[in-house]
């Protein structure tokens, strides 16, 4: 119907195919992800990092915390990324850092997604006081800049990697809650929900069976986009000394060491590049996913 509506009215020529009706950007959005160079790059980079994280002990030339070389050696043939102020091989430490950052970021996002979407869906579905309480708390969190609140939480709980993870969860669930709430609100009054109630479904069942599929897609896109953010926040906390503690090989903490040894550019650069590539790759994938799952938004953005 909609395709037919958008067809030109002059019917002299053979009806043009749908393909010709779409302009270039639309077609780019409909392309499978493996034909979109950015998404492809992102995917490959993430894949590479996952492989590195799994096989770090095999790939790294040295254990991450062994100190047998001279401190602050510039990159050489033996130490590809140089050594840090304690004589540890930076290359090995960057590889090992992936074992920490990637799983933690994934865990973080999964937990925030679970908490946020459950609370948000409840708020949207039950409305009234439930809605008010949950969303006011979310607003409270939104009112602070994310990193500041995370800092406060991490500082209050004590500088530990586990507390940093908790802190990031505390600041990141509200965005899921807000999205889930708006999606549920939009679908709640639809006739198929009424119909489900008429067939005797309970509230929870409606939430799970009827509303779940409507909410899942956009939330997953947000989650993918958010993995990069989580990596960044976590590294940020570690950089500020509130996350991973020495001698743990963590990228943020390593960049922090680089900031203290400013003349040895390699100390901070390589872990920084690691963060950059991971965050960028996740953002590429998230963008591509959004275009695929939600072509309407993509078109509205006029890309």
């Amino acid at each position: 119907m909609t395709v037919a509506d958008s067809l030109p009215l002059d019917s002299d020529a053979a009806p043009p195919g749908v393909e010709e009706q779409l302009d270039r950007s639309d077609r780019a959005a409909l392309r499978p992800p493996w034909r979109q160079p950015l998404a492809l790059t992102g995917g490959l980079v993430i894949l590479a990092w996952i492989v590195i994280a799994i096989f770090a002990p095999l790939l790294a030339p040295d254990p991450p915390n062994s100190q047998f070389a001279a401190p602050l050696l510039a990159p050489t043939h033996q130490f590809v990324f140089g050594t840090d102020q304690l004589g540890r091989d930076i290359f090995s430490r960057v590889l090992y850092g992936a074992r920490l950052s990637l799983p933690l970021a994934a865990l973080l996002v999964a937990v925030s997604l679970a908490i946020g979407s459950l609370l948000g869906a409840m708020a949207g579905f039950f409305g009234g006081i439930v809605d008010s309480v949950i969303m006011r708390i979310a607003d409270l969190v939104f009112a602070f800049p994310g990193i500041i609140l995370a800092l406060a939480v991490a500082a209050a709980l004590g500088p530990q990697l586990r507390n940093a993870v908790l802190a990031v969860i505390v600041v990141s669930w509200p965005s899921y809650a807000r999205l889930a709430r708006s999606l549920v609100l939009g679908a709640r009054t639809s006739e198929y929900v009424t119909s489900a109630r008429l067939f005797g479904s309970s509230g929870w069942r409606v939430l799970r069976v009827e509303l779940g599929p409507n909410v899942a897609g956009p939330l997953l896109v947000l989650a993918t986009l958010d993995v990069g953010n989580a990596v960044l926040l976590l590294s940020g906390l570690s950089f500020l000394g509130l996350g991973a503690q020495p001698p743990t090989a963590e990228w943020g903490a390593m960049v922090s060491a680089g900031a203290q040894n400013f003349n040895s550019w390699w100390v901070g650069l390589f872990p920084g590049l690691a963060i950059l590539t991971v965050v960028l790759a996740f953002n590429f994938i998230g963008d591509a996913l959004r275009d695929i799952l939600d072509p309407r938004t993509a078109r509205m953005l006029g890309k």
């Binding site: 639809s190 006739e191 119909s195």
Partner: protein, 349 residues
């Protein structure tokens, strides 16, 4: 046809909370449905038909209050606990909604939608529920039930979707199906198919059906009895043939004359002037009096009671201008000069 009363509604009133306060949307409505009977409820939008139906199953929007009695099988549905009520919905009483384009979930396969409530209500396994779904799809004459189960709603036409919705409603073998404007969103040709399907199901399975519609033409073909509602009240009630053959309430008469089919009798289609009153602005007395051709002064002050007028018919109109003994104009000529069109093509005076 009917072998006993299935549902007895007594004195049902519904108060809705609107932006401007609490309003009486359904005003002391009583009716009953026999087993295997088709009851029609007719009236314009806003006359309280759908609210009546939803209130039977306790599915009104928040802040509304329902009083009266709704007795199904000796149990008053209005007093049931939430959980008990859930076991009635879909199991004893099912509902088919107006627009099959929106009443089916667009993202779920038909199988998921059709087996969900069967599994909860009848404690069936996945396979049993699937068997049941196939059987029901065949009963509503869906060509390829296996294929249909694996499809999504958008792959079907409107008529097919309404058939699927009816199959869903049938799946737990309910005693009563409430069909809220089941054919309004469909083509006229498809309408006939859906109506004859409902009629067939009633005959084969003994299901009672309550059809809500604004289209008297729909009711004339299948319903046994008929309630005409206006402004939240029942204004005329009786056997469908008799009510439509000789409407006594001016509103029923107006609805009949507004039927396009009436033009076939040579009488031009004649709409009822004005529009139905809103809940916020309900006229005093008989709520139809501002639009009534026969209104008298007393109509605006006194609510006419629903009283028996013989032959099992009930009427809520005090002047009763359309009574047969007044069919020859005595003093007020305007009262009966318009012949009543008859969709059943029985003897036209």
């Amino acid at each position: 046809m009917s072998t006993g009363t299935l549902l007895e509604v007594e004195d049902l009133s519904v108060r809705l909370r609107t932006a401007r306060g609490i309003r009486l949307a359904v005003d002391h409505v009583s009716f009953s449905i026999g087993q295997g009977e088709i009851l029609g409820i007719a009236g314009e939008s806003g006359s309280g038909k759908t609210i009546t139906a939803l209130s039977l199953l306790g599915l009104l929007p928040g802040g509304s209050r329902t009083t009266g009695r709704v007795v199904l099988d000796g149990r008053d549905l209005l007093t049931l606990h939430r959980r008990e009520l859930r076991s009635v919905r879909g199991r004893q009483v099912s509902m088919v909604l107006q627009d099959p384009m929106t009443s089916l979930h667009p993202l779920l396969r038909i199988e998921v939608q059709m087996t969900e409530h069967v599994r909860t209500h009848l404690a069936m396994s996945k396979d049993q529920a699937r068997e049941r779904a196939l059987e029901m799809l065949a009963a509503v004459r869906i060509p390829d039930p296996e294929q249909a189960l694996a499809s999504h709603p958008h792959q079907f036409s409107g008529g097919m979707r309404q058939r699927i919705a009816i199959a869903m409603a049938l799946a737990c073998e309910p005693r009563l199906i409430i069909a809220d404007e089941p054919t309004t969103a469909l083509d006229v040709t498809v309408q006939a198919g859906i109506l004859s399907l409902l009629d067939q199901l009633r005959r084969e399975r003994g299901v009672s059906v309550m059809i809500i519609t604004h289209d008297l033409g729909v009711l004339s073909s299948i319903s046994d009895r008929l309630c005409v509602m206006y402004g939240g009240r029942i204004v005329e009630h009786g056997v469908t043939r008799e009510v439509l053959g000789s409407p006594r309430h001016p509103y029923t008469n107006g609805l009949m004359q507004a039927l396009p089919g009436a033009s076939g009798t040579g009488v031009p289609m004649r709409p009822i002037g004005g529009s139905p009153p809103s809940l916020d602005d309900m006229p005093s007395g008989c709520s139809f009096h501002p639009r009534c051709d026969y209104a008298q002064v007393s109509c605006s002050s006194k609510v006419p009671p629903l009283r028996p007028i013989g032959g099992g018919r009930l009427l809520a109109c005090d002047p009763d201008p359309l009574a047969p003994d007044r069919s020859e104009p005595s003093s007020s000529g305007a009262a009966t000069s318009v012949p009543v069109p008859d969709p059943l093509a029985e003897q036209v005076p």
